[in-house]
Symmetry: C2
Subunit: 156 residues, 2 copies
Amino acid sequence: MTTSDQDKEAAIYEINNRLFFRFFQAANTLHTKGTQALEEFGVTTQQWSVLGALSRPKAENGMSVNELSRYLLITRQNLTGLLGRLERDGYIVRTPSTEDRRSIRVSLSPKGKELWKNLAEPIHQFYDLALKNISFDDRLALIHYINTLQQNMSKI
Amino acid sequence: MTTSDQDKEAAIYEINNRLFFRFFQAANTLHTKGTQALEEFGVTTQQWSVLGALSRPKAENGMSVNELSRYLLITRQNLTGLLGRLERDGYIVRTPSTEDRRSIRVSLSPKGKELWKNLAEPIHQFYDLALKNISFDDRLALIHYINTLQQNMSKI
DNA sequence: TATTGTTATACTCTATAACTATA
DNA sequence: TATAGTTATAGAGTATAACAATA
């Protein structure tokens, strides 16, 4: 390996390092500020993601724990805890599945749908503030990169 | 507002939503897979970030808790916990500052430096796998976007 | 036997407030 | 009075293993 190659490799490592450090920081900030933005509703970003999944037209008839688990990339065990807290607060309901008696359908309760409606405005605003100075096309590019990153990591 | 404007706004919201959902997923995966990659060392991604901060040449003489807090964007209280666990495992030392007797210098112990050396290889490999198919220039762009995102969010 | 969802457990991380010792 | 770091506490999330009910 030539000196130049070593330099190049060191530069790449340096960039990778910076990228992940910034990503790590941004992830922390997302969790902190996101939870803060929804503070008056007492909803964390994890709960936000569950509510978001269940509020999709596709999920109108509920989702099984397994489906939610694959969709959100959260283990079933930990999802049980999350769902328990959301159920405790009255935002979701668990209904036994008619087709497979091992399975349950998780869906938004009326109170959960109401909550999601009230969350729309602050979430909308959060997005706008967070993505300020990032153009529409750049947002598309960003999604693409993050997607690649996420898919690569999930294979590790 | 015209119909076309409404359509445009809906499209933007849809994109924002997707962006944050993917970001959320990627953040979870980073934490899970990152911790997994360093499993044999028993180090979490948060601890990884502290070790990384302290291993920089700039931090050779240690960092105060305040400096670490600002650098990592973790509150002092929570940092105390993190540092406690790292100290318990023998990876860092806390030394009273000679200049300001309220302050302490946090630095890597010999065992911590040794750990960081051993972590280099798996971290290096993790980076390479995670960033596969993302060119050098795209990595730079990605850093730029994430930076903007992070700075925007921290102002919220 | 495999799958669905849960329980149990232990640990890490986060948020908030209050405290101490210096400055 | 303000700052540096810690303590205390409660809650939320995560990892792992094991379990009951059903397929």
